[in-house]
């Protein structure tokens, strides 16, 4: 009895592919079907990433999710109608047309809800999403109960059925990708302006409604194109994740578009390859997981906007502030010998530094030239005392400003002053001085 589960677990362990197989798949030489699927998903990822940038920047991510769910009833209804008309009901163009139609109906409902009620976009999207999906499930179960022949494949649109992708589908993806890219390249100006500031765009004569409509049409087209590749539950992931990941790496819109396309395309390409190499791995889910992995890496390691970079900056600032405190203390007490060890011991006790902080501050001060010497005789340099004097002066300036002009009680300024004195820029200090000199002038709001 104990052996049985182990035995069955052992059976599901994947056969790892050989290097030759991996290379064959990655270079698109492992058979026509695999190649078609790989090309199709790559192009889909590319198109979704490019269009997704504008859905994201226009803050329409929830809307795209609602639209993707609203495709389901269309697929079921198209099947029913096709069968009633004597078709097989498995014709992909008819099913996708149905999907596009109900997605459009969903979009219209969304607009109507926003226009005629006081609901916000999140609630309106939630309604369209859930009602659309519910209606789809009802239609699909009707189809399955009443016309079982040929209906089996319909559920594939929910989770994706990448392996069933044919050459025609890949061509459809290609056309979608090319159209999306052409439109985005031609209208980057208008798309960026509408996404950034729609009121200004409208005043300038841009038909904002038309631009939004165009983007939504492209979103629906990409969604419908992606139904086969990743399924309607996951298609929104490919519209949102690549742009979000791309945003971590750049501050330029065109580069964000390029990166989002590349990330989406890479996810599609690698996802289809992994799925071809490892049996029983659904390509749609693998593609989305890969995109998610790229997002996670971006979130962590992006140079300016990444979490790690931000943490490093915060730690650096804390070290700088602690070092400033030490220099300030040294300046204030005017230690004749300026012995760093004495100063650090005193400041550590005053400010309750953890034990590990002192050596870090010591080396930071030496690195910045504010202390020199070695072993037991590390002294604070003239430059260090100058910095201490500067911090001290900032402290006084800011306190005077807060108490004198911002009407902050004297006993409430300590924390704010402690933070601000280290980050005052030269310009801000000049302004502060100006304020203090020319009394009685309206006080500008200085960002703290």
């Amino acid at each position: 009895m104990i052996d049985a589960p182990l035995a069955s677990l052992g059976q599901v362990v994947d056969q790892w592919p050989t290097v030759a197989e991996v290379i064959a798949v990655l270079t698109l030489r492992s058979g026509f079907n695999t190649t078609v699927v790989t090309i199709g998903t790559t192009l889909f990822g590319l198109a979704a990433g490019v269009i997704g940038v504008f859905a994201l920047l226009r803050k329409r991510a929830m809307v795209t999710d609602a639209l993707s769910h609203a495709t389901l009833p269309g697929i079921g209804l198209a099947f029913v109608i096709a069968v009633a008309l004597g078709e097989t009901g498995k014709s992909l163009p008819i099913l996708l047309l149905g999907a596009a139609v109900t997605a459009a109906v969903g979009a219209a409902c969304l607009q109507a809800i926003l226009r005629y009620t006081r609901l916000h976009e999140d609630a309106a999207s939630g309604i369209v999403l859930s009602v659309g999906f519910g209606a789809g499930i009802v239609v699909l179960s009707y189809v399955q109960a009443n016309m079982p022949a040929g209906a089996a494949g319909l559920k594939g649109f929910i989770y994706g059925q990448t392996a069933a992708m044919g050459a025609r589908d890949a061509v459809f993806m290609g056309v979608t990708a090319v159209i999306s890219i052409l439109i985005v390249v031609a209208m980057l100006k208008e798309l960026s302006l509408v996404s950034f500031n729609d009121a200004f765009a409208r005043v300038g004569g841009i038909r904002v409604g038309l631009v939004d409509f165009g983007v939504m049409v492209l979103v629906v087209v990409v969604t419908v194109a992606g139904l086969q590749a990743v399924g309607l539950l996951l298609v929104v992931a490919m519209l949102i994740i690549p742009p979000v990941a791309a945003r971590f790496w750049t501050e330029r819109l065109w580069l964000m578009v390029v990166l989002a396309g590349v990330i989406g395309g890479m996810s599609g390409y690698l996802g289809a390859s992994v799925s071809a190499l490892l049996p029983r791995k659904p390509a749609g889910a693998v593609i989305v997981l890969l995109a998610g992995a790229i997002f996670a890496l971006s979130l962590l390691f992006a140079p300016a906007r990444g979490v790690i970079a931000a943490a490093v900056r915060r730690v650096r600032l804390r070290i700088q502030i602690a070092a400033d405190h030490a220099l300030e203390s040294a300046f204030e007490s005017r230690d004749a010998e300026s012995d760093l060890a004495v100063v650090l011991q005193r400041v550590a006790a005053q400010r309750g530094w953890p034990r590990w902080l002192t050596p870090i501050i010591r080396s930071a001060l030496r690195r910045r030239g504010f202390a020199h010497g070695s072993g037991a005789a590390i002294l604070i340099t003239g430059a260090g005392l100058e910095r201490g004097a500067e911090v001290c002066r900032n402290h006084a300036l800011w306190t005077q400003y807060l108490v004198g002009y911002a009407d902050v009680a004297t006993n409430h300024v300590d924390w704010s002053v402690d933070q601000v004195e280290h980050v005052l820029s030269g310009q801000l200090i000049a302004e502060l001085e100006g304020e203090l000199i020319a009394k009685g002038i309206a006080v500008p709001r200085v960002p703290a």
Binding site: M187, K189, F200, T250
Partner: protein, 273 residues
Amino acid sequence: MTPRSPTPAGLSALPEHSADSPLSVHAMTVAYHRKPVLWDVDYDATPGKLIAIVGPNGAGKSTFIKACLGLVPMASGSVEFWGQAYRKARRRVGYVPQRESVDWDFPVSALDVACMGRYRAIGWCRPVSKAHRQAALECLDRVGMADFAHRQINQLSGGQQQRVFLARALAQEADLYFMDEPFAGVDASTEQAIVGVLRELRESGCTVVVVHHDLQTVEQYFDDVILLNMRIVASGPVADVFTQDNLHKTYGGRLTLLAEAAEAIARTDRPVR
């Protein structure tokens, strides 16, 4: 221009719209979700003036600008620019929206934003040429932001962002400007930069309508003033109109009969939330 008192719609004489006045508003009423925020506003702007719109919070100052520009629908009334509909006069009108109305964490630089003021001149589906980029850069220079041209907009201070918005409007090369709270939350140097630009604009013959919140500086910065609280309490040259009495009418008695009527109308609509 003499101070006006509000006239009920239908009873007022037909507007004497002239092609001289850059902005003629006639019987403008605006409602948000059926709650009126502006009642029967009549206004004719004198060309070449710096005009402040002043009034308490919720008085409809921003709404007035947005309704003039067609950003919010009017329940009734008409707006003409040099005697023409906005559609035809659009090229001569510039706009500075409220700074808080956009998400500044957008992947563009200060110069990119200034270039947006040139898009109308560039036209659809064409790239921004070097000449247009240079023109946008000069506009940034006029507001003292040339050094920050390639800075990411989310790394600018509030005052710098406001100046970028101003540069974008300058790039529109308009004859009539609408500015929505350009002085809100800016530092002293930005305030001086904006005032400098306003005076330059007046010297070159432009008319500028500015939503303004600081009563202290109205007399110093502006020629004309519109005192607004759901209706125009008074409008005209600052010296004539900006009086203690008018200010009291504008700011005093927060819940006037007008506001109560607006509430009553709003209640007839059943909100979903």
